[in-house]
Subunit: 417 residues, 4 copies
């Protein structure tokens, strides 16, 4: 791609200082039209006044796309069904928000006949990868411009200086702030004192959506979540769309100190990073889903699915949402979810999500089989044969060792003569 | 094995009604000498007066074996290092207590020239498998007698009747009781109302070691655990042996409502069962170990080890402790633990185990690499090339799809002519 | 089940001595009507005169079911797509023939209102498991009678004696014969000298379908196989149904000494067994399919699918065809096969199946990317950044080790003062 | 790193045109002393006259290091024990030759106080990664110079022109040649017509070590290989060191057309490449090792090890030899090899490696267990119980489905009223 061929670009725009500066930088460096695109995935407060701001910063046009329900239904719940948690903990909130936005960017770039797509991700994180993999999946020939990897701005201070020199309005901000990413599913916090894993986070300063367990009420809250084929469809008996379920659970979960994770995780780009996540609704939904699966999935399927979940999580984390492997794993997952239907009651109490009872028409648990009395399903005399055959490889190995040992002793004895 | 060849047997004895009756039944049915063996793995209250009781019940001799430290050092911590949790939750307390006892049974049977080993496990559970696999691993030709699978006693009522008819003293018991298994690592509870997974447990009735989060103190407790190569060696700066670490953590953990698990799990013998576990110390140690590994293991090792942990847990759960595969997986695990050394501080608060800071001389996290400023380790311009090559398979697939699509459109056009 | 409730049974009948005797034994022991069912899965010579034979042996009725195409399309090719080979070699010929037959047995049992299903598998093999798991999957309450596990007949000699005493006609047979299982996909051979793994098989005596490589022609034969979404659809440009493709490839493959496997395998029931397999067509199709996938699957998908294949093979081998996990794995596999379309040319020569050229409209190999000249897809300067970030975890670990070493040396020095 | 700080470099030197030019280029561009290092891993013909050539090209010094036995014992056989084959086929010959050489390069660089290490790998292949990962593992701060990724020479033609302009002697070569890599374990061939996977290779032109099966003798050759704990130690009864075993087997294997692989493989750097490999000795050793393991490993260990092998192969292929994960996997593997001791007889015949008998003192196969007669190890009546419990999850699922169906029908009926 030659600089002079870039006449029009589509920019993933947030309204923050970073992307405001990028508009200015693009116009200076490429002399091109800039179309700003905001993908609304539930980041809340940041959407107001964006149009004016974008135009003021030099954009010719702005798209504000409501992607919330697509995000929840096609990405969040697809991952929830898989039970995928990166490194056993992280619910992937930032990871799958990138492909849904990048996919829309490509669509708009095509509609607008744009010559390139621009994002404001730094060169140290995972998001650049997630963005660009999605762009390449939908348009392998679309150029991507990532100013942070190439420009001379290297720090917050450089940014402010750059902005001041060009009269780009600076946001009113506290002296210090965490680097945050928010959407309907989660908020992540990085930076400042969080960069020191030997230090306990000051949760009063960090948390936005939730309170810490200590500040949560002394009385528990109960919620009942209904799943249909692995997908949450109702809360406390009331059917609602997925995004509303998450909103509701974020609220009650946040109030009860649920879903705060303090993690050192391994980035795709090879370094470790420490972050604090708020995942109130997510933690509740994952827990409920796991409880329901413990009742409705048979052992072999559950154990294999646990391994699939690990792979699924890595793919999503690494930006490979739009890959054959992720789609094939989803085909596996969806097959397993056909009977993951039922109600899970949970007690939320000061950071705890406690199983308070689960039912399913497809339950594979039956107290008749599990009780200690007599029954027709399980015949105790079967277990003798089962144990004998199950143990056969162990027995054969032990017999072999005995034979080898006896032979060696025999040889020793004969040599001793 | 012929009945008449059984002159002397070694019995896994607990002092409970089950094994007391078994002594009587063995003498009636085999006319054999019965040697009672109690393996002390920390079941606490049940050891007093056992000798008299066993002799009174008809045993010729009793061994009371202190296996606690062997259990902790060679089984519990070996599994902790692996991070193995069955079905993502269960810390395997009962599962690895069986092999340590069964191994000692075989040793005593050899010392005593016994003709068979007897256990009191039912035919519906996992423990029969765990016992017998271990026996076969150490002596493939040793007969095993499992009265519950063959005798006419089928229920609690049958037992009581049988005991009364023979003047076997009945334990003083409440009308109802949960089926429990206790050792230094955990207590499990099954039966009664727990058989109904739609019902929340009455924790006041169930719990023995811990209080529920609601009853825990309003102030958090902090503990700092030191690990050396994956093994806990000190608490709050004080070095102590493993069993004492567990005892201490069970106490403070139990007081703070930690480690209560309510699980529907898949038994080896094909049915699901619901149990409540108390694992105060175990939960604290697992959490601490995971936090330390997040700092000291590289990504590839950690991700693969997560899969190994799943296999390890299944093997232990299924009684395959003494198997080549378990030993080979331990060899893998031990190699990974060489740098899992350091201190983890935890805040215990009403059921929560919260990371309060971690340090290690072998940390792979370095705030210098992770910060957003400039540094020598990470060069942002590298990421352009990284992303391009990482994305290459996605790009090639997208190019292929584009080409196929273009060809199809071309063919359609030509057909249209 | 009570003996007297068994008025009518459905028997998996082969016409061999075993199942002829079973008819007689069933009538003697259960006084029941016996309906013989032959599932034709391509066992060839054994079908003629079966009706007369069954009636003469005492059956009231016989079903001869042509299951060949169902077998090939729904079982064989489903497994081929998965690339599943048990223990890396065995193409599962016997394993997936059992469920297709057992499924039909249940259907007929339902049509006939039979009270039980009877099979002639011994208690030492895998087939009893495969039969009974399928029966239970389709009718969990249907009793199964397995005479070999319970009757007093324990050997070939017992059988002959039993048959003579009841005038059951004995087959004309050589003094010795291998235990064989044949269907359209394969022939297996076990027993006699094959029981000694230290001995090379006498292939002239063993082989039925194929010649040994030494006896194959000196000129190679070429075949071209077309796949559509992973399924073979044409040979040498001629479209034909799956069973005809296998028949053709068995013929040319067998003539060229292809697909003879001599394996010690691990049975589900815990013992090892040695068998020789003839899989001429199967080996050709698996090889062709693998070659085509090497061109059309991306790396991540291929590598993961290789692991899925291992699990798939174990499930099929262990009789778990009709299980949620097998079906979910097939959902995964089918998603991956969407682009496994193309032509594979193979040279068959004295036991060798040699790649002689492969093409696909969905090829991900492009000589443009792979050549050493310049091109637009791959930019060599990207690799610097790729290597640097890919190596980052290694670098960080090495830096940590250096730091730890330096610190230790420093401490030593200070102690030395 | 600044150019001017580079006073002395260590170069991985082969004597070919590429690395001869690099010496000249280094001196022109860095004005530095160049120390040439040749790691002899069995590349044969290329070693003679190297010293003169290197000095003539401008090197100040040359190291010719005999790494053959280290390569065989610590890399090749370590991988053989793991059974690792990349993508099921490739025996990793080039992949593990890179770390052994790079490790020595770092050692020499330290001895010589060199300022950088230089290699001649292109930016399109795996070898650059393998080299640089090893360098970083042993010295994270050592700069690496990779001229092919940065200089202006982009093709064979450019190279020749560059050499002519500087009087660098050109090798006498046929007009066309394949890109080859040779060591004691294998030869790889890439390029020219091999870049077209639709074309059968002209093996007469390609092969160096082996003949094609068609050209192999009409009489088979037998070899017997003895393994001790997974490592080959003797051939035909004669003990010899590992490298001599490989040399011998390369010879007889090559004569019999063994080990020719034609593969499209997935490179780490994201593209597919087609190569032909000659692996005569390797193929024989892998086959023998697998046969011996089929006798001496229990099922669970074997099946898990098969998965470990896939991971091991990827790590080696991707240059991660010196990584914690590879070392931990080796610890696993070595534990499994303790009983992989015995003799394997093989028939080599026109490309076929045929099992001709295997024995081991640690055999887990015993014809006594496997035969069809009666015996004491296996009791057929056990299988009834085994099948019943093994099938229990299937049965419970089927019962659940039946119940759900019945309930639905009942509801329908009631609605119909």
């Amino acid at each position: 791609m030659n600089k002079e061929d870039i006449k029009k670009v589509v920019l993933a725009y947030s309204g923050g200082l970073d992307t405001s500066i990028i508009i200015s930088w693009l116009k200076e460096n490429y002399d091109c039209e800039v179309i700003a695109v905001v993908g609304n995935v539930g980041q809340e407060e940041e959407l107001e006044g964006l149009e004016d701001k974008a135009i003021a910063s030099g954009a010719s046009k702005i798209y504000i796309e409501d992607l919330i329900d697509e995000f929840v239904d096609d990405y969040v719940f697809e991952t929830l069904k898989a039970g995928a948690k990166y490194e056993g903990r992280y619910l992937l909130g930032t990871a799958f928000a990138r492909p849904v936005i990048a996919k829309r960017l490509v669509e708009i770039a095509h509609e607008e006949n744009a010559d390139a797509i621009v994002h404001g991700c730094t060169g140290k994180g995972n998001d650049q990868v997630r963005f660009e993999l999605t762009v390449k999946a939908f348009d392998p020939d679309m150029p991507v411009i990532a100013p942070w990897r190439t420009w001379e701005i290297k720090s917050r201070e450089d940014e402010i200086e750059y902005a001041k020199a060009r009269n780009i309005p600076l946001p009113m901000e506290k002296d210090e702030f965490y680097s945050e990413d928010r959407n309907i599913w989660h908020i992540s916090h990085e930076g400042l004192d969080l960069e020191y894993p030997d230090t306990e986070p000051n949760y009063d300063k960090v948390l936005k959506l939730s309170v810490s367990p200590e500040k949560a009420p002394d009385k528990p809250t109960y919620v009942t979540i209904r799943f249909d084929k692995g997908v949450p469809v109702a809360v406390n008996g009331e059917y609602m769309k997925g995004s509303d379920i998450i909103r509701y659970l974020n609220k009650v979960g946040g109030e009860n100190g649920i879903g705060i994770d303090d993690i050192v995780e391994n980035r795709l780009v090879g370094m470790k990073v420490r972050g604090v996540y708020e995942n109130a609704g997510g933690r509740i939904l994952y827990t409920a889903h796991e409880i329901l699966e413990s009742l409705t999935l048979d052992r072999d399927t559950m154990h294999y699915k646990d391994k699939v979940a690990v792979e699924f999580a890595s793919l999503v984390y690494n930006g490979l949402w739009f890959s054959t492997l992720r789609e094939a794993l989803s085909a596996f997952v969806n097959k397993t979810q056909e009977t993951v239907t039922g109600d899970v009651k949970l007690k939320l109490y000061k950071g705890n999500v406690i199983n308070a009872g689960v039912t399913s028409p497809y339950t594979l648990y039956d107290e008749e089989y599990a009780t200690f009395g007599e029954d027709g399903v399980y015949d105790q005399t079967d277990s003798q044969g089962f144990v004998n055959l199950y143990a056969l490889p162990i027995k054969v190995q032990a017999m072999m060792k005995k034979k080898v040992k006896a032979k060696k002793e025999q040889e020793k004895k004969e040599q001793g003569k």
